[in-house]
């Protein structure tokens, strides 16, 4: 478990991270979202120990049975695998030389090192390209090599900083599946991204950062509730039959019902859970329905709603 308590960091007059507290549980795929300059990378750098915080604490707790308390710096470094946003490897090395070099920093040697490097390359879908120089790789292959270099030592905590920026859909798909696989293997993952659908599909817990602060945190469902003040159901009718809108508006929780040609829209208070009554009313009035849809905000809607739509520098 990673405990971040009241962490702050400023660069001159700029408060990059302002009193941030987070708890990341073991095995969690934690999404860290935020616009450019929100403070995500600064926070990541403080979690990894690359940057010293001005105040607060970052503790890695050992979840293993019989152990308790924070781990020391060296033990923490051994359990972290970092996949930086920038491609961080040597262009003149082959893929396997790169992976071997970075894995050897964690004490792996000989046969264990070779096996770990080959496993990491296979995981990244680069087994066949292991001997090619990294500079000959495509953008997607380089991104995957970047991941292989970060996970070859089998870290318990993997930090991925925007790992899918600027790559083709195939490589992106492979990376996303790889991240899911890491989670299935029980790794704790911190994932920063600008792509909301990635966070929506992958992350079990999400924190949204803006201007150095965590402005929202929780499961996706919880975040969506933050901006939702009503829920709606739309029935698409087969024919333009007359509809008794008043009957719908008398149902518990319904605030408004309206008919727009073949679309019957019913708006309810959040948490009204009155879908059964609504469908019963549709049946009672003999309406023939071809489609039912419920409106639910996407993570992107939540993100834009919380961080604003104006452009950032």
């Amino acid at each position: 478990m990673i405990e971040i308590r009241n962490v702050s960091k400023s660069f001159g007059p700029t408060m990059a991270v302002d009193n941030v507290s987070l708890t990341i549980r073991d095995g969690e795929l934690f999404g860290l979202l935020g616009p450019n300059g929100a403070g995500k990378s600064t926070l990541i750098n403080m979690i990894t120990g690359l940057l010293a915080q001005d105040g607060g604490s970052v503790s890695f707790m050992d979840g293993a049975a019989g152990k308790a308390g924070a781990l020391d710096a060296k033990a923490v470094k051994r359990m972290i695998g970092l996949v930086p946003q920038d491609l961080a490897f040597y262009q003149n090395y082959s893929a396997i030389e790169n992976v071997k070099f970075f894995a050897s920093l964690y004490g792996l040697r000989g046969k264990a090192l070779t096996e770990a490097a080959e496993a990491a390359l296979a995981f990244a879908g680069l087994s066949d390209a292991g001997k090619k120089p990294a500079k000959a790789f495509s953008g997607g292959m380089k991104r995957r090599l970047n991941i292989a270099c970060g996970i070859a030592h089998d870290p318990r905590v993997v930090i991925l900083d925007e790992p899918t920026v600027g790559i083709d859909p195939q490589s992106r798909n492979h990376i996303l599946r790889s991240v899911e696989e890491l989670r299935r293997r029980g790794r704790t993952i911190i994932y920063t991204t600008h792509y909301m659908e990635e966070a929506e599909n992958l992350c079990t817990e999400i924190a949204i950062m803006d201007k150095g602060k965590i402005i929202a945190q929780g499961s996706q469902e919880r975040l969506k509730l933050l901006i939702k003040d009503s829920s709606g159901v739309t029935f698409t009718l087969k024919r333009p039959d007359p509809v008794d809108l008043g009957a719908f508006e008398r149902i518990r929780g319904v605030t408004k019902a309206k008919l727009d040609e073949l679309r019957l829209s019913v708006t309810s208070e959040v948490g009204a859970t009155n879908l059964n009554e609504l469908t019963a009313e549709v049946n009672r009035q003999g309406l023939i329905v071809t489609d039912i849809s419920t409106d639910s905000p996407s993570l992107e809607t939540v993100f834009l709603s919380l961080t604003g739509r104006s452009l950032r520098d």
Binding site: N45, T48, G49, L50, K74, K77, R78, I80, L82, P84, D86, L87, A88, F89, Y90, Q91, N92, Y93, E97, F101, F102, S104, L105, Y106, G107, C149, G150
Partner: protein, 245 residues
Amino acid sequence: MVTLLFARHQLRLQLRSPGILALFVVGPLFIIFVFGQAFTAIFAAGNQGFSAMQYFGVTLLTMAVFQGSFLASWAVFKEKRSNAEARLGVAPIGRVSATLGAFLGSWLSIAAIGCVVMALGSVFLSIDYGDRPWLSALLVCVEALLASSLGVSLAVVFGQERAANGVLNAIVPLLVFIGGGYTIIPDSGLLHELSRFSPIRWINLAMLDLALPDTGEYVAAALSFSLAASAALMSIACLRSWRKR
């Protein structure tokens, strides 16, 4: 162990840049040849007791070895340039070990380059390195130690490649010049006095002495000066790395 790992890493990366290595070997030989030819008449007229080719065969060799400090600086900054710095920062390794590894790897490559230039100069340009060429090779290796420690320490202390290389660009030609790299140092005057502060001067004197009268008179002074300076520079680099950790 980490130090050796980084030294091997440094050597391997340099071997992957054959163009740079070729430049460090062929460049000095070409310059020695040009200077040797261009100043033949002047040296003959000046009755120096040795030819221009012989003089520049020594002084431009030591200049080439001293310029290896740029390779050492590159060894430190390559991690930044390849963005690998963050990965290394997260790994459970000591900064001092990494710095010592960069120093060791650079030293080996600079010394190897110096010895190759010396051997090729001897064969193709008939430069005489004396009856005890191993002693001249030892001087080259110790000068490589100095060059490597200078490059690494400036890189670690300044932290910015432009700043470190800017200082190197000022220091290296200056020390080579006052060390007699481009011209014979007179027996008196300002240049003579200044030359005492250049480690290159002592190495040049020792190598020229080995090549001609072979008394070995300056060898001990050259080795002591270079080793002491190198130790001081690496102490600064290690202390700085330790404080940065």
